[in-house]
């Protein structure tokens, strides 16, 4: 009797620890497998659907008081784009820089920093949430993206706005390490979605994306593309680099970064 109980216990302990080891190895394999890896990535659609259901189109991200600003706002990703083109733009204090707006628009644009500053500005103190887990509060000043898109007038079929950046986060032969991001028109026309040229009352510092960066306040930090060079309106991003709509998206992050 006791013998039986003892061996049963041993079998169970063996089974449990064996199952534990198999589970861990299995998780790694499942992550990389086609089938379950696909299921894992589909969760994003469920999350996005649920958030879009709960989230009013114009619902604002919380805004903060000036007394709540982070003493030091952490700079992340590229801190200084490593290209001759950017170096010469910076040398001239971005006087020669122009934002190109093209793709599915009736009126392609080339806007200088002065052009952008002439448009009505929005100033907001918001919290920047990095996918890694840290948060920083900063003040941003810029022109609502909707103003620029209205100037360019979208063509039928326009679904996404793609942001092409000056920085290469990963150096590759084919240029696929170039930073880029994309958002859909709901976020593009959100009142807090701005092209920021000012931060904490000063011109946007280089470490934070000078001369112009995106603020898309209801999503995580990697969506807030820095060092903007070109805005392209598209109907799909299948043909862009990895086809998932962004530098980090091509490397496994969700396209919808609302959580």
């Amino acid at each position: 009797m006791t013998q039986g109980g003892f061996s049963r216990r041993r079998i169970l302990t063996g089974l449990l620890s064996g199952a534990g080891v198999a589970l861990l190895a299995g998780c790694d394999r499942m992550t990389q497998s086609g089938g379950f890896g696909h299921v894992l990535r589909q969760t994003e659609k469920l999350t996005m659907g649920a958030q879009r259901l709960l989230l009013d189109r114009k619902a604002l991200a919380p805004e903060y008081r000036a007394s709540e600003l982070s003493p030091v706002f952490r700079a992340n990703g590229t801190q200084m784009p490593d290209s001759d083109e950017y170096a010469s733009l910076l040398e001239n204090d971005f006087a020669d820089w122009q934002l190109q707006v093209d793709g599915l628009v009736q009126q392609p644009l080339k806007l200088s920093l002065a052009d952008l500053k002439r448009l009505p500005a929005r100033t907001q103190i918001t919290r920047h949430d990095c996918v890694e887990g840290w948060s920083a509060i900063g003040q941003w000043q810029g022109v609502p993206l909707s103003r620029v898109l209205d100037l360019a007038r979208l063509k039928p079929g326009a679904r996404y706005v793609v942001f092409h950046c000056a920085d290469e986060l990963e150096v590759t032969f084919d240029g696929s390490g170039q930073y880029y991001e994309s958002i859909d028109l709901i976020d593009a026309y959100h009142p807090q979605t701005i092209l920021a040229y000012g931060m904490n009352g000063k011109p946007l510092p280089v470490a934070h994306g000078a001369p112009l960066r995106l603020r898309v306040e209801r999503q995580l930090g990697y969506k807030h593309a820095k060092y903007l060079m070109r805005i392209e309106v598209v109907s799909s991003f299948d043909t862009l680099w990895g086809g998932r709509g962004g530098y980090w998206e091509d490397r496994g992050y969700e396209w919808y970064a609302g959580i």
């Binding site: 109980g5 969760t43 989230l55 949430d129 996918v131 496994g252």
Partner: protein, 288 residues
């Protein structure tokens, strides 16, 4: 009164009639229990993968590297040696080998939680988040089924709310002593949970798990816009992240004690009851 020893009486010594099989757990409770085991395991381990991306916890509306961390796990170079540490407030403990610095194959690597505790085992924040959110959805759906069933069919009121006679201080004190001496309920007393057990289960089902979900949702910038009271409720997103970690830690403590109690108070009987629902009550030690 209870003079029986902990040793399980063998069949030869006990009359068959003194062992009575009762139905302890309903099908819904059993299924949601095991789904929860799966969800909690995956959420914990993928959560540690996510935590590893920034192993510092703050209190307040903002928190990043330049700000003071309330809890952190990290590593420091001491001469030619890497040392791992766990810091909470002003206290710092060396944890080389487990936290901060751990062995991976031949080399010591800087990693807050070691790779054998994370999903995936290698560093991949994107994949860790995918796992986390898929099983978070499953946990929430499972939780609604459990709570809906528990309220509707009276499981929570009948089995989990302590009875009046279980709420006296003297009674609770006696239960604490009984637990400490590993003296577990027998016979008729084993028909219901003791009050410490009931309060722990209520704490997990009604406080800690809902707190996990709420603090998790508070970290979402999208849901902050939908429900601005969420960050206010917990004193800011970094605070919610800290509470998320602390309640996860509390749940781990619960699981450790829970499994220990399951093993000590009649492993097979307990485990069987959570699989096929049948629990055997032994009346042999009772005075008749």
């Amino acid at each position: 009164m209870d003079t029986s020893t902990l040793k399980r009486p063998s069949a030869q010594h006990v009359q068959a009639s003194s062992r009575q099989s009762v139905r302890r757990h309903s099908g819904v409770v059993r299924i949601t229990h095991w789904v929860n085991v799966l969800c909690f395991s995956v959420l914990l381990m993928s959560g540690l993968q996510i935590f590893n991306a920034h192993p510092r916890l703050y209190w307040g509306e903002y928190g990043a590297d330049a700000d003071r961390a309330f809890i952190s796990i990290g590593s420091e170079q001491h001469g030619d040696k890497l040392k791992g540490f766990f810091q909470i407030g002003p206290l710092s403990i060396e944890t080389t080998g487990v936290l901060g610095v751990s062995r991976e194959g031949e080399a010591m690597t800087e990693k807050a939680f070691p790779s054998w505790l994370t999903i995936p085992s290698y560093h991949d924040l994107g994949a860790g988040r995918n796992w986390h959110f898929l099983f978070a959805w499953l946990l929430v759906i499972n939780g609604f089924i459990y709570l809906g069933h528990g309220l509707w069919r009276g499981h929570i009121r009948r089995d989990l709310l302590p009875n009046r006679d279980q709420l006296g201080w003297w009674h609770i004190w006696r239960e604490v002593v009984d637990h400490a001496r590993l003296r577990f309920a027998k016979g008729e007393h084993a028909r219901r949970y003791n009050s410490l057990q009931k309060m722990s289960y209520l704490l997990v089902a009604l406080v800690l798990l809902p707190l996990m979900v709420l603090t998790g949702l508070t970290m979402s910038p999208g849901l902050n816009a939908a429900f601005p009271f969420l960050p206010d409720l917990f004193g800011g997103r970094p605070s919610a992240r800290t509470l998320h970690f602390l309640s996860a830690y509390s749940l781990v403590l619960f699981v450790v004690v829970h499994v220990l109690m399951v093993v000590l108070s009649g492993f097979w009987n307990n485990l069987r009851s959570m699989i096929n629902g049948q629990y055997v009550i032994d009346h042999s030690g009772e005075n008749k």
